[in-house]
Symmetry: C2
Subunit: 342 residues, 2 copies
């Protein structure tokens, strides 16, 4: 491009090339019905003039904005950022631009954003980790929508999600296989992904005939915002774990929590992994930054994003079976062994 002028229209190109706007349009969109000569002539004028089509007009006319809205709780969260970045990139490759909206998990903001996106006539929506209830009838079926990491319900949605339950099994069974005495530290949450991991932990322990499972679980009263705060409850829990029979292995419901566990252990003079093993979940930077580095269950954000975009683009082009498409697509997770476990 090099010299884009935004105030030049197809009309100017047509006039200067000595052809009609229809012909210019055909050449721009390469829809045929023009001679090679006119094509060259027009393209030359386009370049000279620095003409670029007005997407606003194109969209208005063609009823396709070639843009999608991405609703995300917080772009500052590493995990969401990775997904959003990949989505944006993939969509751009497919000629869609993304309008990214930080909802802060506020239903008021979410509604306002949804309104704005509808007014922009976005062709599709990717909604990440929104559990907000009456997320307005707006999007429902009116516009192709993909959910990432959302509790499945019978509302005819298409949901992409990591295999949280399987990941929870993976983590717990790894502890079991190392002959560790398993504990779980979680956060108080209603998030479906967390809940699935917890369920897996319990199921695995039940299967291993371990009794009194609830006493092995600590539910921290924190959000991801204040996770660094010192936590006496946690210290006590770890002390108990250490003094109970066997070498304890703690499953931190996510890497942040696992990190807190390690920090607590450090404070208490407990050696990780020798006296205490710790396994996390997510595979965020935290797992690498911590010392020791945290063994963790990694979510594949790139694949999550890829599946979401593929499905969305598919929904957008397949004007047919819009209603039909629903269900859950699960993306596998995998264990990465680092330094925090024996």
């Amino acid at each position: 491009m090099g010299n884009f002028k935004k105030n030049i229209s197809i009309k100017d190109v047509a006039r200067i090339s000595g052809v009609s706007v229809a012909t210019v349009s055909r050449i721009i969109n390469n829809t045929g019905r023009f001679s090679k000569e006119t094509q060259e002539k027009v393209n030359k004028v386009i370049k000279e003039l620095g003409y670029g089509p007005n997407k606003l007009a194109v969209s208005l006319r063609s009823h396709m904005s070639h843009s999608v809205g991405i609703l995300v709780p917080d772009i500052t969260n590493e995990f969401y950022a990775a997904i959003v970045k990949k989505c944006e990139s993939l969509l751009f490759e497919s000629n869609f631009s993304s309008i990214i909206c930080n909802t802060e998990r506020s239903s008021v903001r979410e509604k306002a954003y949804l309104q704005m996106l509808m007014e922009h006539r976005v062709d599709g929506l990717i909604i990440i980790s929104s559990n907000i209830s009456g997320e307005s009838l707006v999007s429902q079926n009116l516009i192709p929508t993909i959910y990432i990491d959302r509790e499945p319900d019978n509302k005819n949605r298409l949901i992409i999600s990591s295999a949280h339950y399987e990941g929870g099994l993976l983590a717990t069974n790894f502890l079991l296989k190392q002959n560790l005495s398993p504990f779980l530290v979680m956060t108080k949450t209603k998030s479906s992904s967390t809940l699935a991991r917890v369920r897996a932990f319990k199921d695995a322990l039940r299967k291993a005939k371990i009794k009194n499972i609830d006493s092995r679980i600590l539910s921290l009263n924190i959000t991801s915002d204040n996770f660094i705060a010192r936590n006496m409850e946690l210290n006590q829990f770890i002390k108990n774990a250490i003094s109970s029979p066997g070498v304890p292995g703690v499953f931190g419901i996510n890497d942040h929590v696992a990190y807190m566990v390690i920090k607590s252990a450090n404070e208490l003079g407990i050696k990780v992994p020798n006296q205490l093993s710790v396994i996390g979940f997510d595979g965020t930077y935290f797992s690498d930054v911590s010392s020791p580095k945290i063994t963790t269950i990694v979510q594949n954000t790139d694949i999550l994003a890829k599946k979401a975009c593929d499905s969305l683009l598919n929904l957008i082009s397949n004007t047919t079976s819009k209603e039909a498409q629903s269900g859950v697509i699960e993306v596998p997770v995998h264990l990465v062994i680092k330094e925090s476990t024996i």
Copy 2:
């Protein structure tokens, strides 16, 4: 809203309300010239129909898209994410939507994005930390543009930037005041922000009559992507620092580097901060996650974003002095003392 229908136009509203489209338009935009009764009547119909204006048409007609493009190297970077998030939020409050583009520091991608943004007829541009040279004549003066964290040149730009030089002085003088023997660990970069910090370090040492300044500087051959890799060079540098006279104080050019220094020290069995003080720059999570937590110079991303958005919105509305506006707006930084320094 609750029931947005995207296929209903102002015409439908007009027909059903029994008024003209002009009147409906006036009521929607509250531009006066209508009676209270018609207003109520029309608003009722609007609600019933679930009508929402088509921004595409509005933009096309009014020559204002009410959208801005944000070019950012990598939304996954915590520092950029914070800025982008705040910008997006502020712009949304002012009724602008943001199209966020991850350039990956690739000039090819940057050009493609710029092209797309121009075609979308964005009203303004926020370009974060792009040092890419011929960043195309496109944006230049054709469209209001704000740069965040860019090397000032005489190209008539409006640049918002943290006070990196002052921050560098702050960090170095803090070490000096604690009677520490100052060292600097930096990354090989051409980034103007880094360079300003280095310049400050040197100036402060010069002022303190310290000789042989260059021998006190280590330039690591890393990018932010592989910062966690073990670095023998760094270990050696720290050993030297420790064995030289006085208690060393290392200025890590950013929190990542400071973190690496601490990690190296840990490996070498050197106690931070007793045997070695470390100060960082940026105020990212790293500085809190590390143990000990890193004393650091904090950049105020919220203010950076606020100034950028204010300036941009100002440029957009002030159609007048578009050319005139240029210069550098510096945002203060501040020292936050944590655990890594005596």
